[in-house]
Each structure stands twice: as structure tokens, then as C-alpha cells.
């Protein structure tokens, strides 16, 4: 990935703005990036509304996205052949797992593959075993090409197959409430993990009084 590719957005965003001006007299619903974020986080909808797609977990079991409902989930879209940022995202999630466990919060962790061709359930299982992911907390999902695109569209994740079989992708770390609402999203890798932890703690459905110091 060249530096040029990373500079494109600046140029593209500029052009996007021009395109809107050129396209019509009245400004359409095309908010700036920050505004899109604000709209997505806090807007009342459930990711589990996406119920027409099929997924397969690391045990090979077919399941609906809605099967994740009922507890706070930390979700990232990655792929197991990824050598660059994916291991860092997973490491961050493992760190969150340790932190929330210490606080006595019940949280699930979900990795959805953006490489469904190669990330078959067996591959996901050996990936999970290799890192020692706790199957009681971690769900690894393979979807269809189309279903994966749709979930990415819902979460604001962008990815593109590159010629070298690598996949360029953004690095959202999404916190879902038990009902599936996006209550927090970390974009990129620079935001301190504590922000995500705070959102997790706020969203976790803990019995009252179990952790008064944090309340």
C-alpha cells in the first residue's frame, strides 16, 4: 500500500464535495465523515436487522447474525491471512477481554472474515486455536461475499481485494449493545483502547451493585 493510496481520500473527499456542488442546487444528504459517524453511533437501529444472510462459525455451524444478540459484543472484520493490522486488532480485543474479565463484565468477541473464500470454518477454527481464543466468548464467522459486503456496509467498514491476494481494509472496532445497536466505534488504530473499554463497561448489562465503583 503506497502513501499515495492513503492520500487519495483527501483528494477524493475534496472532489466529492465538488461533485455535490456540481450535481444539484440543493445539498443532498452527504455529511462529512464526522457527521456520518455521529449519525451511525447513537442512531437507533440494530445490526441484527440484517437477518437474511447466512453465516458459519468456527465449529461449522450455520447461524444468523441475531444469534449474537443478548450480550455486549466487540466486533471486527478481519481475515486470517492478514499479516499487518489484523493481528493488532485481535491483540487489542484480547486486551479488552482481559480488562472486562477483571471488571466482571460479560462481553463477547466476534471476528467476521472479509475473506470468505479462504476463511472456511476449519481455517477459522485453527486460527482461533492458534491464538487460544476462548470458544465461550469468541465467535468467528464466515459469510457469503454478498452478506459480508452488507455487514460491512452496515458497520461502515471498507475493504477491497488487491491483486496480491491481500485485502486492503479499514480497521473499525465496533461495540454492539445486547440489542445490536452500535454504541461505540473505534476507527483506525490510534484511539486509546480505554475509550472502547469505557463504552464496553457502559453497555455491559451488569447486575446493579456488582461494581459500584465503576457506576
Amino acid at each position: 500500500m503506497s502513501i499515495l493510496t492513503r492520500l487519495v481520500p483527501i483528494f477524493a473527499a475534496l472532489l466529492g464535495g465538488l461533485a455535490i456542488l456540481a450535481g444539484c442546487g440543493e445539498a443532498p444528504a452527504m455529511p462529512a465523515e464526522g457527521a456520518v459517524e455521529a449519525e451511525k453511533v447513537g442512531d437507533r437501529f440494530s445490526v441484527y436487522a440484517l437477518d437474511t444472510e447466512s453465516w458459519w462459525d468456527q465449529t461449522g455451524e450455520m447461524r444468523a447474525l441475531g444469534s449474537l444478540e443478548g450480550r455486549v459484543q466487540v466486533l471486527a472484520m478481519v481475515y486470517t491471512h492478514c499479516a499487518h493490522t489484523c493481528p493488532r486488532i485481535v491483540a487489542d480485543m484480547l486486551q479488552l477481554e482481559a480488562m472486562t474479565e477483571e471488571l466482571g463484565k460479560e462481553v463477547g468477541f466476534v471476528l467476521v472474515s472479509i475473506d470468505p473464500d479462504r476463511d472456511q470454518p476449519g481455517r477459522l477454527a485453527s486460527f482461533a486455536d492458534g491464538i487460544g481464543l476462548d470458544p465461550a466468548r469468541w465467535t468467528l464467522l464466515q459469510g457469503t461475499d454478498d452478506g459480508t459486503r452488507a455487514l460491512a456496509a452496515l458497520l461502515g467498514v471498507r475493504y477491497r481485494q488487491e491483486a496480491d491476494r491481500e485485502i486492503a481494509h479499514t480497521n473499525e472496532l465496533t461495540v454492539l449493545s445486547p440489542a445490536g445497536e452500535i454504541v461505540h466505534q473505534r476507527k483506525g488504530l490510534d484511539e486509546p483502547l480505554e475509550h472502547t473499554l469505557d463504552a464496553l463497561v457502559a453497555a455491559a448489562d451488569t447486575p446493579p451493585g456488582s461494581d459500584p465503583a465503576r457506576r
Binding site: 466529492g16 450535481g23 437501529f45 436487522a49 456496509a153 461502515g156 481494509h169 479499514t170 483506525g188
Partner: protein, 263 residues
């Protein structure tokens, strides 16, 4: 094959064609899908100029109209304005419609439907046994002028497209039988932007691989240097527009058409 060739010819010559829908407007439009032969597309930003092969496919010759979309939501209540799940569209979904099934006056029937989200466009195509075109398919088809199948290096065509973008109005003008491009496809540039299935393959600034940033050098127009075709300004506009989209986005200058793979 013969049929589609005849269709292309007929459309190119502006011959009257049998109407396939009710005659709300005075024009007779054949909406049968057009077969596009296999070809390729050179992405605006490609690794070492790698062309993407595009297998032969079919595409709607016209954008989906308000009338088409009203027929869809009649059959699929969950996509009506009053019932749309907020996961799948922003607050302005089908803005301007008078009701769930009423898109406006008869004059509005043949306007390309706009204020539709990617999710709604995708559902519409799926219900018709179709799908949204990929970026590569859309760009490949849209690179054709009336005379050439690939006019992407034709300065005059590029200037025309650019002028066309500037002349668009909202609400989007109804479709008509004006000359299609060389593939027999209409209104790719002169009505609205259009959804593609992989709109979210355009990466924004938080592209991750190599996020270290120590070699980052900012200088003017750096973004165009890596482009495969820096002279194709309309392609930059489309790229930039897609980069700003979310799956729930709707806009009054954003519509769609469907495509279909050939088995």
C-alpha cells in the same frame, strides 16, 4: 443475441419500440436487459495498472424509475417509507414521495428513483432476480460513448461527461429514449449517480496496511499521482462520491440500475 443486437440498433436509430409498461409518458422504451460482452476495467487506483477482467453480463438499459420502485414496495412492504428499518436507510429515504405507494404525479413516474439506500437498491435488484452492478462493470459500461465502447481516453467524451454532470438537475429528469451508448445503455451520466454493489471498496484515509505514517509526505495533488488515468476527471468525481457513501445514505441525486450475471 440477435434480439439484443436488434435492440441496440433500434435504440441507436431511435426507432419506435413496443412499450413494455403502461404508457404514462409519451415515450416507448424497451427496458429489456442489455447483454454487455466481456471486457475489462482499469481501476482509477490499481496495483501496477492491473486491469480487472469483466465477464459478459447483462445490465438494465435504464435506471430504475419511481414507478418501478413503487411496484417493488407494493410487493415488499418492509421497504416502504413508513416501514423501512432504520438500519437500512437514513431519515430521508424516498423523500418527496407523497405516501408509501405514491411517488407523486404521473409526470414523476419515469424519473429515476432517488433517495434510495444501498440496502434498498440491493433488495430491489434481488427481488427481480438481479443484483447491483460491480464498480468494474459499471465503469466499463459507462466508459462507452455513442460511437466507441471505450472512450475513456477520448478527451471530447470526457469533456462531454463533465459538462453533463454540471447540467444535472434535481428532481432528476425522467428517462427518455435519447441515444444510448455503444452498448445500448442509457442515462449513465446525465441523470444521477448510481449505486454499485461494492461502493464500500473505496478506502478512506484510515486505510490500515502500513498505517505507521513515518513516510507520509503531503503535497498538492498527491492523490492524483497514483491514478492510472489522471486525465479522467469524471472518474475522480465518481470515485470521490462513492468514498463519501454509507450503506444507509440516500440522496436526491443518487439512484441505481440492476445487473445480472450470465450463467
Amino acid at each position: 443475441m440477435l434480439r439484443s443486437a436488434a435492440l441496440v440498433l433500434a435504440l441507436a436509430l431511435c426507432l419506435p419500440l413496443p412499450a413494455s409498461g403502461s404508457g404514462v409518458a409519451a415515450v416507448s422504451l424497451d427496458t429489456a436487459m442489455v447483454r454487455v460482452p466481456a471486457g475489462s476495467h482499469l481501476p482509477l487506483y490499481a496495483n501496477a495498472g492491473a486491469r480487472i477482467a469483466v465477464p459478459a453480463f447483462e445490465i438494465d438499459p435504464f435506471p430504475v424509475t419511481r414507478r418501478d420502485f413503487a411496484a417493488f414496495v407494493r410487493e415488499s412492504p418492509q421497504w416502504r417509507r413508513s416501514r423501512i428499518n432504520p438500519a437500512f436507510a437514513g431519515a430521508r429515504y424516498l423523500d418527496g414521495w407523497r405516501g408509501d405507494l405514491s411517488f407523486g404525479t404521473p409526470h414523476d413516474a419515469l424519473r429515476p428513483v432517488t433517495q434510495v439506500s444501498w440496502f434498498a437498491a440491493r433488495a430491489y435488484c434481488a427481488a427481480a432476480g438481479k443484483r447491483l452492478p460491480t464498480t468494474a462493470e459499471w465503469e466499463y459500461v459507462a466508459a462507452a460513448s455513442e460511437a466507441e465502447t471505450d472512450a475513456s481516453r477520448n478527451g471530447r467524451f470526457i469533456a462531454d461527461v463533465l459538462r453533463t454532470y454540471g447540467a444535472r438537475r434535481t428532481p432528476v429528469a425522467p428517462i427518455d429514449g435519447a441515444a444510448p451508448n455503444r452498448f445500448g445503455v442509457h442515462h449513465l451520466h446525465d441523470r444521477s449517480w448510481e449505486w454499485v454493489s461494492d461502493f464500500n471498496s473505496v478506502l478512506m484515509g484510515d486505510d490500515s496496511r502500513g498505517a505507521s505514517g513515518h513516510d507520509r509526505r503531503l503535497y498538492c495533488a498527491a492523490g492524483s499521482i497514483g491514478a492510472t488515468d489522471p486525465g479522467n476527471y469524471p472518474a475522480f468525481l465518481r470515485y470521490g462520491f462513492r468514498a463519501g457513501l454509507e450503506g444507509r445514505t440516500t440522496a436526491d441525486n443518487l439512484g441505481f440500475r440492476c445487473a445480472r450475471s450470465i450463467p
